[in-house]
Symmetry: D2
Subunit: 182 residues, 4 copies
């Protein structure tokens, strides 16, 4: 069993990253910082006879790093009450992978994984972050992945998250759980 | 009074665009197709003393076309149960504009506008699109804009939306309303 | 095919009832006004070896009138952002029916039905009524019933609903649909 | 400062009660078990010139026990993805109190309080309980009360909640907080 984390934030050592690293303490995990890569947003070609074009960007190489793992942590700051645009762009591209002959088993591979969400926001995340959690539930449901849990934390300025004791506790609990499977 | 539409889709003549054009029949409106522009995702510099960097892309020119209008229609296909990544990237950038000395009145200007959402999706949009509507409510609430209404339509293949009579009716009703203000 | 409506309101000729009757025009339907009956709230005995007690009220007689029909319309005013307490009490009692030897096929019978929701509220029902719609989705999902559609209307004072043209249109469209099945 | 708990469950020593008592350890609090009282559901007379009728039940005596306190904990099992019908009936009756000459300051009194929600459910409460949390947000918002926090726990059989370490931790944290104010 192995873990991959997909970071959707753009600030080094941001609150979401700090909280996620609490969950990863002494865990071997692949870390993917989406902001370090270049990939385009989706161009919807689902109904085009020629299908999707290869966009010649880093998307597939990111996918290749994710697929071998069986646990995915989606770690995103809450921007405007949802996941970051960069993470949304990444997930939007799954529509292409679902039709990509180079990834004939994409859905089955994803469906075999467990997904976690870790997200930190500054404006009432425990209320205003809930629609995002519901969306992850629908996303995981569509792709067939188990939604194994989520942690919402509160924080605005860098480091704020350390004061959110419930989030820190939940990250520690997740860490214990991941240790048993990795 | 004048109307601007921000299109988040990437398929010409997509269902969302068709439905939105029903609402725009015989209305003079500025149309912005986000997919025609190049703009980067946000890099969060809210807590950086140097502030945000100019990203030298089309974002500000899009903003300049939006700000003069008092009614904004956010027209987005529902991708993975939320707005398209490209539209999310656009909204994420507002965090920069809120701190941009070149747009000292950004929030006040946005707060004076009315916002509508038109969104078409293929997988139970009237249920699974609701979290996205709640997010627009929070987004508009933060920026101070009135959430004047939304239309959810169902459609997958190009043109499907024409069979969604409730959505077509609602677009016609919005059209009547816009005619009284434009 | 036949239709039963469960009314959760307590005001004769309330907005929810008016809107629902638009959907029922020239349709033969069984109408159940929950307020006309006496039934207790659930007492949770799921984990009691003796099981649930018969509460000697009208609940089962209501159930007997519902079960023969294959389409159920839940018509409830939105009180405090959800269904009325009386309708919630009725649904809570399903937990008892699920374990009632007198209704050995309760779940299968319910699972064969289609459910609609018609709800009118005065405080931004198209936004603040959405969690209730999500709850009906979960309720129908648990019991196995198809969530065939919903209509949200806006209204406060008696008769207000007549001004909600979108809701009236949707009720008319539902009426056409019901005519084809009844 | 003082605390009142409104219990919406009907099973003695149910999971919600156990979790709530964790939060109340060594705290002096008024406990109201709604199931021990008799009160009717609302009959909507908001638009009746004669106004609401006194329903001659225990509702007002419950209210009299709540109003002196400045912190209210709504402790409800999650029945069918929402608060229990008995708790919903109680909240529905607020519509009457808002127009009751005997409680001329009902809204101001409620608006001065802080509200917490503690809720335990058996079917994915961290996902399927979220609409209920959003409804409490709207309820508290309408009455002007601060939504100070919530704890969702998972449990089905009596005592299950003791295995939900995150919920137990959160109850302990709430206990520490309440100790500082009581």
């Amino acid at each position: 069993m192995s873990v991959v984390v997909i970071f959707g934030g753009t600030r080094p050592q941001g609150n979401t990253e700090i909280l996620t690293e609490k969950a990863l303490t002494n865990i071997k995990a692949e870390r993917i910082y989406l902001g370090d890569f270049h990939f385009e947003s989706i161009i919807d070609k689902r109904h085009d006879t020629a299908g999707f074009h290869d966009r010649n960007d880093d998307y597939n190489s990111i996918l290749d790093r994710i697929l071998p793992h069986d646990t995915i942590i989606f770690a995103t700051p809450i921007y405007w009450y949802s996941m970051s645009g960069i993470m949304k762009n990444f997930i939007d591209r799954w529509s292409q992978s679902l039709r990509d002959a180079n990834y004939p088993n994409f859905k089955q591979q994803m469906a075999a994984k467990k997904g976690y969400v870790i997200a930190v926001g500054g404006d009432a995340p425990h209320i205003k972050g809930l629609p995002m959690i519901q969306q992850f539930q629908f996303i995981f449901g569509f792709i067939g992945m188990e939604f194994a849990g989520y942690i919402l934390g509160i924080g605005n300025k860098p480091g704020d998250i350390m004061a959110d004791q419930k989030a820190i506790y939940a990250a520690g609990e997740l860490n214990q759980l991941l240790k048993t499977i990795v």
